[in-house]
Each structure stands twice: as C-alpha cells, then as structure tokens.
C-alpha cells in the first residue's frame, strides 16, 4: 500500500516549522501523511531505521528529521522545504 510517512521528532525545530505546511497539504489535497515521532516511540524509530538503506543516501548518509518518505515510490525529502516542494512530493 502506498503510504506517505513523515518521520518527525518532538523537539526538532525543523519538524515544527513544517507542520503548518503538512496541515495545509492535507487540507488542500486530501492526502493524509502518517506522522511518526521517532525519539519518544521506539516502534517508529525501528521503522525509520528499517528504511535506512533507502532514506540515508538521500539525507547526507544519516537518518534526519523531518523526513518525508513515500513507501511505494521511495521518494524522500529531508529537512525544511518550501510548500510547493512538499506538495510535489505528496502528489507523486
């Protein structure tokens, strides 16, 4: 199943900055992101780690937050980006 995940962290300012864009995106497109917090939820952390071979090469070799990840297309965005870039990722 095609899932769009946002891996985020509770005390990550970049994640906080992206949240209004995520809200806007969900309202505008009807696409829902699965928002998974990774520092206070070990299950979510393990899931993110399981995608490391796909995510890390696109994020400076590391697991960084926020990471927007499409489980079907393997499209990845990390960090703060403009709304249009996020939307483009979501619509792929």
């Amino acid at each position: 199943m095609n899932k769009r995940i946002m891996f985020w962290a509770r005390e990550c300012p970049h994640c906080k900055a992206m949240m209004p864009y995520v809200d806007k995106l969900e309202k505008e497109t009807g696409i829902k992101l699965e928002k998974l917090e990774i520092w206070h939820n070990e299950k979510n952390a393990d899931l993110m780690r399981s995608y490391k071979p796909i995510i890390a090469p696109k994020c400076g070799g590391q697991l960084r937050t926020p990471t927007f990840f499409n489980t079907e297309t393997n499209d990845v965005i990390c960090g703060e980006v403009e709304y249009e870039i996020l939307k483009e990722w979501a619509l792929k």
Binding site: F7, A9, R10, E11, C12, P13, H14, C15, K16, I38, W39, H40, A45, M48, R49, K52, G60, Q62, L63, R64, T65, G79
Partner: protein, 144 residues
C-alpha cells in the same frame, strides 16, 4: 587505537592515540604514562560533574566563542533543542541530536552527540548562512 594516559605529576587524564607533549593542567613536559581504562575510570570518577541545561549552554557558548560559529540567537529554538538533547540523554544515554536518529551502531551514533562535527556537513560547509543540522550552531556573521 585510542588509549588512556595519566600525567604522573598532577593525574590529568587524557584519552587519545598519543599523549599530549605538555600537560595542559600542570604544564610539565613528557609527563604522560599509559594506564588501563579501569584506572582512568577510577581517577576521572573522583570528580563528579553534573550538567544541567544552563551549564551545557554555557559550555557550548564558550566552545563557540573562539570558533567561526555561534549558538543560534533564536532562543526559542535553542530552548526546544536543549529539551530534546537532555531528553535524549535521559532516555537514550547520550546528548544525541534531537533532529537525527541513532542507528544503534555505537561508533556511528557517537557522531550524533551534541556538539557534533558539523563543520564537515553540507548544511554548514562552504555556506555563508551555514548551520548544523538541528540549528543549535550557526555560522557567525562576518560583521559581528
């Protein structure tokens, strides 16, 4: 491989590939002798140092002072990051970066302990407005 070394004059402990030529504490030359990790742990354990957020912030500010970067002037952002750093220490053992995730490979994860070596990261290197990934450190503006 890194080893432990002890100054035979003042018991300064050094952890590294080779000992300092001059002891930074008592300034005696060629004063270091190799010791076991047990001995090093016992000696360093004699001094108890606790770091709260205020003390950590003061430490990183002093660290940044002589470098080309500074602690982010955005205090709200810094407060959020300090919360994350200290929560990570409490829950995961080290002051890990709040904006990255540990891999569970210890050597790899030590690279995420704050402050990390962000000077080599693409978010900082060769960038006029460079910052570490989480944004705790930002390049100091030239006119400041």
């Amino acid at each position: 491989m890194k080893k432990f070394w002890r100054c035979f004059v003042c018991n300064d402990i050094h952890y590294g590939v080779r000992p300092p030529e001059i002891c930074p504490t008592c300034l005696v030359k060629n004063a270091y002798v190799e010791i076991s990790s047990t001995e090093a742990r016992k000696i360093s354990g004699m001094t108890k140092v606790d770091f709260d957020k205020k003390k950590f912030l003061e430490a990183v500010e002093r660290f940044a002072e002589k470098n080309e970067f500074q602690v982010n002037p955005d205090t709200e952002k810094v407060k959020m990051l300090l919360d994350g750093i200290f929560n990570n220490e409490q829950n995961h053992g080290f002051k890990f970066c709040p904006c990255r995730l540990i891999t569970k490979d210890f050597a790899e994860d030590l690279k995420l302990v704050c402050p990390c070596n962000f000077l080599i990261h693409e978010t900082y290197k060769d960038k006029e407005d460079g910052e570490c990934w989480c944004g705790l450190f930002v390049r100091r503006k030239k006119h400041e």
